[in-house]
Amino acid sequence: MPAKPVVKRLPARKGLFAGFKGNVDAITIGLKYLVDPKRFTLIYPNEYIKLDPGYRGFIVLDPKKCIHCSSCARICPAAAMRMIKRMEEDPKTGKPKMKLWPVINYQRCIFCGYCVDVCPTEALYTVPYHDIVYENMAEMDWSLETFVKPPEHPTAKEGIPVKYIVDEEKGLVKVRAEEVEEK
């Protein structure tokens, strides 16, 4: 069944007390939320959101899985991922051999997740956090050594993990992460 256009009319505002009723309605609603406010402010960094595992956060490389295929660098729309050359010892022959490794530049990354989805061996994975602060731009251009381990997540050390869940009555509510996970 496709859509159908429906012509509607604006609600009429007639009668002596129409304006009065409208004002009373508006003020009543306003007062209701003055008495019982619906707040879900995150007290960051005392609290932080524990994001779902599917969240597209920072990307990390698992060097054991990488097959040096460059697919991630080719699909990157922001040119954040690039391949670097490394001389490495071949485990079989013991001779030095040139290898390509991906590195990521977080100055450019837009977190589209294409690289994670395209990697043929799932060598790239995302961590569910993104609130990492850098002191300067250069630090955001990761080296291979930084890229192979998950970045430190300082807020997780101090803050309380919370989650936002959709609620029928209040829209969003903030709850302790443990409470959600228990369910």
């Binding site: 429906v6 505002r13 508006a26 009543t28 294409y114 029928e168 209040k170 969003l172």
Partner: protein, 412 residues
């Protein structure tokens, strides 16, 4: 006497408004913007006679990013995140038609599951964008409660979008042949809760904003666009529908799952700012209906990879394993250098602000030969020039807010 609009009398154009006379010497020129007069960067140069706008000149282009040209240097799929940046809070709606154009050139049709998933995200985006519009509109006319409320409630939709795609805003969700993720297991429950919440909440919106006599006084009879003029100016989206034009891209050329779901396209005939607000308000209700239907459909049907056979049939076992475990559709490495056959295609979709049209031409390479975008805000900006004259200066925010003009999308 009547208002002069670039040498023509406004009454001759059939437009209504406050009557004023032309006073060359006593006109003041006021520059509104470009330091963020509203939801973005643009300037409106108005000439006023006392308190009445005599001439208005929208000066656009402050956030022009040469998007059409940039796209020519990027592989097909890389343009999805690029075009998304026209309206990041309406990401799926603005990119789905680009992806559809690519699918037309490739001669493939996404599977039904992908269509429903895209439709689902499109409607989530539409509600979020309308709430964003309401928030900006509210703060324009000094109703900061509306701003706070709709930005807080928008968060519900953003949360749903994050559950579905893994990103709050720029989802990069549609790809040629399908969609990038299936919904997680806990999504239907959350979506239904959100729908029920909004149904109740919208009634409160009506009471505090739309039916509030203070707001109504400021919106009613302001920025009237008669039906004939709306057609001549070529406005689209809620602006056109508030003037009695029964036009919606989802109606004219149903795409994705829109020919299977049941919904109404609300049309009002008054053509003023109030009618435009009501169109958006009613559209949110319809979007909620579509979300419900899409979630029901997705739950009933087996979980299959929402992508065309061409990109899935030959996929290695790992692809299927990841999809079963996480619902994530992995891309084949060929996606990066996808070659489209020579050809041209057009596609349109209905974004929150109106119809967006893509014309895509391929000459058989891995990058587009030409992509032409006609975005809804670019078409609606003309309203400032022809409709604003005749109203008071304080009505300009009302007109701006009611057409929900969004510079980054208009300038591209």
């Amino acid at each position: 006497m009547s208002v002069w609009v670039y040498g023509e009398q406004k009454s001759e154009l059939g437009l209504e408004g406050t009557i004023t006379r032309k006073l060359e010497e006593d006109l003041y020129e006021v520059f509104i913007g470009p330091q963020h007069p509203g939801s973005g960067h643009m300037r409106i140069i108005i000439r006023i006679d006392g308190d009445i706008i005599v001439e208005a000149d929208p000066d656009m282009g402050y956030v022009h990013r040469t998007m059409e040209k940039l796209s020519e240097g990027r592989e097909w799929i890389k343009n999805v995140p690029l075009f998304e940046r026209m309206a990041i809070h309406d990401a799926c709606n603005v990119t789905v038609s680009y992806v559809m154009a690519l699918e037309r050139i490739l001669g493939i049709e996404p599977p039904p599951r992908a269509k429903y998933l895209r439709t689902l995200l499109c409607e989530i985006n539409r509600i979020a964008a309308h709430l964003y519009g309401f928030g900006i509109f509210g703060v324009f006319i000094g109703h900061s409660t509306m701003y706070m409320w709709s930005f807080a409630d928008r968060e519900v939709m953003v949360e749903l979008a994050e559950k579905l795609t893994g990103a709050r805003l720029t989802h990069s969700y549609p790809i040629p042949g399908g969609a990038r993720r299936d919904m997680p297991q806990d999504f239907p429950q959350a979506a239904r809760k959100a729908v029920r919440y909004f149904r109740r909440r919208l009634d409160e919106y009506r009471k505090i904003f739309l039916d509030n006599p203070v707001t109504r006084k400021r919106l009613e009879g302001v920025g009237i666009i008669p039906k004939k003029i709306a057609a001549e100016l070529g406005v689209v989206g809620p602006v056109a529908r508030a003037s009695g034009i029964k036009y919606d891209a989802r109606l004219a050329e149903p795409y994705d799952a829109y020919d299977e779901v049941e919904f109404e396209v609300p049309v009002y005939e008054e053509g003023d700012a109030l009618a435009r607000a009501w169109v958006k308000f009613e559209e949110i209700k319809q979007s909620l209906r579509i979300i419900e239907q899409a979630v029901d459909w997705l739950e009933k049907h087996p979980r299959e990879a929402p992508i065309h056979e061409r990109f899935w049939a030959k996929a290695p076992p790992l692809w299927k394993k990841v999809f079963e475990a996480e619902g994530r559709v992995k891309l084949l490495p060929l996606m990066a250098n996808l070659k489209l056959p020579p050809g041209r295609a057009m596609a349109r979709s209905e974004t929150a602000r109106g119809e967006i049209v893509y014309y895509v031409e391929s000459d058989g390479k891995t990058t587009p030969y030409r992509v032409r975008i006609v975005s809804p805000s670019a078409r609606n900006a003309i309203v400032f020039k022809y409709i604003a004259p005749g109203y008071k200066v304080m009505d300009l925010p009302t007109i701006y807010g009611s057409i929900d003009y969004f510079p980054p999308e208009a300038d591209r």
